[in-house]
Amino acid sequence: MKIYAILILGILTQATGNVFLSREMRHIASALQIADGNFPVLLFQTAENPTIWLGTALLIISFLLFITALSLADLSFVLPVVSIEVVVNVAFADYFLNEPVSQLRWIGTVLIFLGVILVGRSGKQTVRRREKEEIGDVKGR
């Protein structure tokens, strides 16, 4: 139960952080009328922007929640749960940032979600095999 709470909180903070960052980077870039050459100016503006720091703080919190989850459970459990992140991010971008998300893009997003679940579920075997090899190494010594 605890692990689900950690993961749901992690997913929500992650997507919220991305919304803040996306919105603010757009603001900064449009205010600067950014051209290809002034990348350093963009970075400088970014570093002193409070909303960017807020978004970054949210991403750090989600990162800490995920590594805590990974120390409690296998990646093969955590990754399929976290894979919903891609759907949450697109939904947040649609709702909070008013990005035009076409039907095709939604279908693509759901395919990615399903694909990552499959990748995540198949991880278990790899981990087990690696653990066996490590045990073998120890015995070998």
Binding site: I67, I112, V119
Partner: protein
């Protein structure tokens, strides 16, 4: 094109960061306490771990590339596109680490590739 290059940088740096972070945290071990003194000891172990520190470097590169691309591209495209990191991870496991990849995982990365192809349309 500019967006595609940024996505490629993000995916490569993210994959490198993931591998190193996993290795580093495995060396440190399970975080099963909330006692401050023990957390400080674990924190010190983490901060002196070479794999962990190199992972942080790649994570920083990933983050700044992500911020930069967001200044002109849609989050609803950029974020799903970064899922290509799973494809990279699988190809790396197959061709660099010579791991056996299950059929289920091949189907998974095929779905991710199809998905990314679909989101690339406006």
């Amino acid at each position: 094109m500019k967006t595609a290059i940024m996505i490629a940088i993000i995916v490569l740096a993210d994959s490198a960061g993931d591998v190193l972070l996993t290795r580093g945290m495995k060396q440190v071990g399970e975080v099963s306490t909330i006692k401050l003194r023990e957390l400080v000891i674990i924190g010190r172990k983490v901060l002196s771990n070479g794999n962990f520190l190199t992972a942080i470097f790649f994570i920083v590169v990933t983050f700044f590339s992500f911020l930069t691309v967001l200044s002109w591209a849609d989050l609803s495209f950029v974020f799903p596109a970064t899922s290509l990191v799973y494809v990279m991870g699988t190809l790396g496991a197959k061709f660099i680490l010579k791991e056996t990849i299950t059929l289920q995982r091949w189907v998974g990365i095929l779905l991710v590739c199809l998905g990314v192809a679909l989101i690339s349309f406006p």
